[in-house]
């Protein structure tokens, strides 16, 4: 669906919240606005545009350009409307002869130092300086040519004031010749992004925007390429390279980013069927007009030359691929799936849904397993990330989701961040949290690494508890110990909202001396005093929130830590009011949605157990088939069963299990043992090296549907261009299902959502019409909450009373010893995303061309490892090699790496240990040894060879 809408009007200054309403007139038009609003914004509300250059509603008013001056009855002079707050009864004139003179004079000065190359300028038609020259009626510039910043040379030789373009950033260009020094970029970097990478160097005529210091370029500076500066630049000084290359866009399609779980809303600026740029939407309720380098710029993978657009098949995984028609590919696939079921039983095949695909697509894939394969063998990549969140929060509160919306962080007094790294993995939310920290909120970080959040410019001192990987439960329980021992808990809340006796029982449990900080210090290496300080700060803050990520869940005790976190929030009354809560930061764009949509082998959509006869009856009626009451196989069980010869076929949509799942060798041998592996993806990924059928997928730019972000917000995804592979992904699943007798007749994802709403109580009120009208809604959305639920558990927990659960610390089986003395933990970096299938195919590699092992200086010295050396990382499971970076961000005894690059294959090293409740793999703790190395390991070379062999494609016959 294409939206031919003009991008939002810029109101000049940000909206202000106030209960007091002020009435004034602007150019004779009466207008009422909240107290504290600027005169400029009030005028905009009245429909009047005051000329401006340095003001934008993304940023607080600055008052430097002097173009927005107005006259106000009873006030002297000509105040700047952007910095003047409204007053009751104010009479404002935005156009008088005197103002017109001033504005012309100001514009004349600006234009006297600006190249007048509008016709060939990349911002032609989209330039505020150009617009303002028109608005003020500038007709001549009386200044003689003289000293300036824009002419490369004059009659006498090179112009010493001229500076060349900075093209170091792969996505945008900085051309100082066009800069009017309005400061917008510097302010955006500070206020919106919170990186403070830009400044104005020098002063007066010599003032220039500078990224970093004198010797820095944009790329070498602290710049994280979020694009905020480019977005607010009024001229072509900071502009997307794509706009320079293509020209101005002609229409806009609204959609949702397909990277992380923040779920930013974007305006896709299109020219025909070509994307010119992606610009974050101001009305996006998750991102409020901000973006990160991935969503803003790293979408080029959709048209990357390595993307496969035609179906392919092969008899054996050692054969080269053969490009075939859709019919032939689907016939081949269904033939083998049916054969597997005929020979090995109905339970011998299954599906894996993707957290990258839409809700509607995920719903269809699990429906394929349940209604067409007639088993419950469906699982999803959330198994390997946030399944403990689902389990833990459902047990404690009654719902498998975070409790609050992102906006809630604006009201928090203390953020307790556990095992997540928002500025890298959830950058837009990270920026919002940094803003709150700059406003004075406190920060406690429980993480083995000193994450960047702790180095937030202009915040107070954060508290860092650098625990040993694998000791989360012990540390969080120790926090509870301190809170109970010092009676810092919220008795009134517990009595009202939880079971008091249950709490007393839990209190007795945590008071056991083995949970005391001094005892926990011995195993976690976190000084007892820090644990006490953190516990007191969390309990005493009026509104304290908890944000956590995969550093909590991807452990053998992932579910236990989630419950320990829930206990902590409940005992301090930090649930149900803004600024508090338990908020998992979801890794992928639709990991929440893929869980909601019944991807798990034991649950129908809406987290209802497959053995529940009532729910089963709903689906049997809707789908017209008899459904199995037996839970199906989880991903690790599928692999085990495959090795036992009982699981023979897999349809894997949009997930690269070979790279993203632990213990790579186990995964590849399981896949090698199957008769039919169908990979449905954009690229030949690592999993496709073991596949028999490749179905080309569609990118998020090519499909309609919805994604659900970490705050349960259902956002629309709108098709911006025709799928290059011919079909949207849901259509491909439907074709596969229909070939196996599915008899599905969906013509648009809105029909699939209608079926979801009809069969799932928490989605009962959701429809595409509602989403188109409201922009987005947060589930539960039903009769009780027709516009959704931003904050859950306000008056009571979904399960009734909040449940305190004992959280006994059990050390992971993964222990260090003489052979493997270090603990490896893994994570993400800002510029790359997950297995990197997309970001590695963009210019984001400028920032992170390879995975690096972070190692503490003392550990490096003991092993004779120097900065940049190749090192071998070996565990009980396998080994790989990569380069070392020596840093004290990690504690002695701990090493850290990312898993973005298949040549590194960090997961060759990780083990098959997993969460006791949900089988979520223990990615975050692996005992390893690190030693100097000469280059790639045997495994890497073997794998590379297999990879090259298995990606051969037979040339198609000449036609």
């Amino acid at each position: 669906m294409k939206d031919f809408i003009i991008p939002d009007r810029d109101m000049g200054t940000p909206a202000v919240k106030s209960d007091v309403i002020v009435n004034l007139t602007v150019d004779g038009i009466p207008v009422s606005v909240p107290a504290g609003t600027s005169v400029m914004r009030a005028a905009a509300v009245a429909g009047i545009s005051v000329p401006k250059l340095c003001a934008t509603d993304h940023l607080t008013a600055f008052g430097s350009c002097r173009l927005c001056v107005v006259q106000i009855d009873g006030m002297r002079g000509t105040p700047a409307s952007c910095t003047t707050p409204v007053g009751e009864g104010m009479v404002v004139h935005t156009q008088t002869d005197e103002i017109a003179q001033i504005r012309k004079g100001v514009m004349e000065l600006y234009i006297s130092d600006h190249p007048l190359d509008c016709l060939t300028c990349a911002a032609n038609g989209d330039c505020e300086l150009q617009d303002m020259a028109g608005a003020v009626g500038l007709r001549e510039v009386r200044y003689e040519p003289g000293q300036n910043h824009f002419a490369r040379r004059d009659a006498e030789g090179p112009n010493p004031e001229w500076r060349p373009k900075d093209q170091s950033n792969p996505y945008f260009t900085f051309d100082p010749a066009k800069c009017i020094v309005c400061n917008r970029c510097v302010r955006a970097c500070e206020e919106v992004q919170g990186t403070f990478a830009l400044t104005i160097e020098s002063r007066g005529f010599d003032s220039r925007v500078s990224a970093g210091m004198a010797s820095d370029s944009f790329l070498s500076s602290d710049c994280v390429s979020c694009g905020a500066c480019v977005q607010v630049c009024p001229t072509a000084t900071l502009i997307e390279n794509k706009v320079i290359e293509i020209g101005t866009p002609e229409h806009v399609v609204k959609t949702t980013c397909a990277y992380c779980g923040v779920g930013c809303s974007f305006d896709v600026h299109m020219r025909g069927e070509e994307v010119v740029r992606m610009v974050p939407s101001k009305e996006g309720k998750a991102n409020h007009g901000h973006s990160c380098v991935k969503g803003r710029f790293a979408w080029g993978y959709a048209t990357h030359k390595e993307r496969k657009l035609e179906p392919m098949i092969r008899e054996k995984i050692t054969d080269p691929w053969r490009v075939v028609s859709w019919d032939e590919a689907l016939d081949f696939a269904t033939g083998r799936l049916r054969a597997a079921q005929a020979d090995h039983g109905v339970n011998s095949i299954g599906v894996i849904t993707s957290s990258r695909c839409t809700n509607e697509e995920t719903y269809l894939v699990q429906k394929l397993a349940r209604a067409v394969f007639r088993n419950n063998n469906t699982d999803t990549c959330a198994r390997v990330c946030h399944s403990p969140t689902g389990y833990g929060l459902k047990t404690a509160f009654g719902t498998s989701a975070g409790t609050h919306d992102f906006d809630s962080v604006d009201e928090t007094d203390l953020a307790l961040v556990i095992g997540c790294n928002p500025t890298d993995a959830h950058p837009v939310f990270g920026s919002r949290m940094r803003k709150r920290l700059r406003e004075g909120a406190s920060l406690i970080v429980i993480d083995p690494r000193e994450i960047d959040l702790l180095k937030t410019p202009h915040m107070g001192q954060g508290l860092h508890l650098p625990l040993r990987p694998g000791t989360n439960v012990a540390v969080v329980t120790a926090l509870a110990h301190v809170i109970v021992a010092e009676r810092l808990y919220d008795e009134a809340f517990i009595r009202e909202r939880c079971d008091w006796d249950e709490f007393l029982d839990y209190a007795e449990f945590v008071l056991d001396p083995k949970h005391a900080p001094e005892e926990v210090e011995k195993l976690s290496k976190v000084p007892a005093e820090l644990i006490r300080q953190a516990a007191r700060a969390y309990a005493r803050a009026p509104r304290a929130s908890i944000y956590y990520g995969l550093g909590v869940t991807e452990h053998s005790q992932g579910s236990t830590t989630v419950m320990a976190i829930a206990n902590l929030a409940m005992m301090c009354g930090n649930i149900g009011k803004p600024g508090t809560g338990v908020n998992p930061l979801r890794g992928q764009n639709n990991v929440q949605g893929s869980c909601d949509m019944g991807s798990f082998p034991n649950e129908y959509p809406g987290y209802r157990h497959v053995s529940d006869p009532e729910t089963r009856a709903i689906y049997e009626r809707a789908w017209g088939v008899e459904l199995s009451p037996e839970p199906g196989l989880r991903i690790p069980n599928m692999f085990d069963e495959a090795l036992a010869g009982r699981f023979r076929g897999l349809y894997c949509q949009g997930e690269d299990i070979v790279q993203s799942d632990p213990d790579t060798r186990h995964v590849t041998s399981a896949l090698s043992a199957m008769d039919i592996v169908i990979v449905h993806d954009l690229f030949l990924n690592e999993t496709s090296n073991y596949a028999h059928v490749f179905l080309p997928g569609s990118s998020f730019l090519e499909k309609d549907g919805t994604f659900t972000n970490a705050e349960r917000r259902i956002n629309l995804v709108n098709r911006a261009m025709t799928p290059k592979n011919g079909y949207e992904d849901w259509e491909i699943t439907q074709m596969l299902a229909n070939r196996m007798g599915g008899n599905w007749t969906y013509t648009h994802p809105r029909e699939i959502m209608a079926e979801i709403a009809l069969t799932t109580p928490s989605f009962a009120g959701v429809s595409f019409e509602l989403l188109e009208r409201e922009g987005s809604v947060q589930w539960p959305c039903n009769e009780a909450a027709p516009l959704g639920t931003p904050v859950m558990h306000i008056d009571g927990f979904v399960r009734g009373k909040g449940k305190f659960i004992h959280t006994e610390y059990v050390a992971t089986e993964e222990r260090t010893g003489a052979r493997f003395p270090l603990l490896l933990t893994t994570g993400r970096i800002l510029s790359q995303y997950n297995v990197g299938a997309q970001t590695r195919r963009t210019d984001n590699v400028a920032w992170h061309p390879e995975d690096i092992l972070e190692i503490h200086p003392s550990d490096a010295e003991n092993r004779g490892v120097r900065e940049g050396d190749w090192v071998r990382v070996a565990s009980r499971s396998g080994d790989t090699t990569l380069r070392a970076h020596i840093t004290d961000r990690v504690a002695p005894g701990v090493v850290y790496t990312t898993f973005h690059h298949p040549t590194t294959q960090a997961n060759v090293v990780t083990t098959d240990n997993s969460d006791w409740a949900t089988n979520c793999p223990e990615f975050k703790v692996t005992a390893v040894q690190v030693s100097p190395s000469n280059g790639p390991s045997d495994w890497q070379e073997e794998y590379q060879a297999h990879s090259e062999l298995s990606r051969r494609i037979l040339p198609t016959a000449a036609e």
Binding site: F196, L198, T199, E201, A211, M213, P457, H458
Partner: protein, 163 residues
């Protein structure tokens, strides 16, 4: 010129300067003054270290350093001669004086004599408007400056410049 940042004790001396101003309100300018006193200019390598210590970024520190003309980004000559270029002195012939001094010394503004002894800098107002044009040699102020008086000052400073 080798950067002092390559000296073994650079970070120690820098940390000592930063520590001396710890806890003070608005510590950045005093720190920069001490650094310039220590090394004769503000080495770029010092800027990220200051930023880290003060919870700022290196861009911000650079913004401040570059805002003030008196913070130098490279060392000056042993002596600095400043000529006032502001309006009151201009009306008393400061421009002509500047031309003559530049010719006499054989260097332009912001330049240092080849022997590294003297750097010539413009300055905007020394507060001596009543007796312009004015100049400053080190700590010493000079009113009703002429090229001869300036040359004498330079000579007294042991320069022999212009000769």
């Amino acid at each position: 010129m080798t950067s002092p940042a390559s000296d073994a004790d650079f970070l120690l001396r820098l940390d000592a300067i930063i520590a001396a101003h710890a806890g003070r309100e608005g510590p950045l300018l005093p720190i920069l003054h001490d650094i310039q006193a220590e090394w004769g200019y503000v080495p770029e390598e010092a800027q990220p270290v200051i930023a880290g210590a003060l919870g700022m970024t290196r861009a911000e520190v650079y913004g401040v350093v570059s805002f003030y003309h008196d913070f130098r980004d490279h060392p000056s000559g042993r002596h600095v001669l400043r000529l006032c270029r502001a309006e009151a002195c201009q009306s008393m012939g400061a421009d002509e004086l500047a031309d003559r001094v530049r010719a006499a010394l054989g260097i332009d503004f912001h330049q240092t004599t080849p022997d590294g002894r003297l750097t010539l800098e413009p300055v905007f107002c020394l507060g001596l408007c009543a007796c312009g044009p004015s100049a400053q040699m080190g700590e010493r102020l000079l009113g009703r400056a002429t090229v001869e008086k300036v040359q004498r000052l330079v000579a007294e400073a042991g320069m022999g410049a212009g000769a």
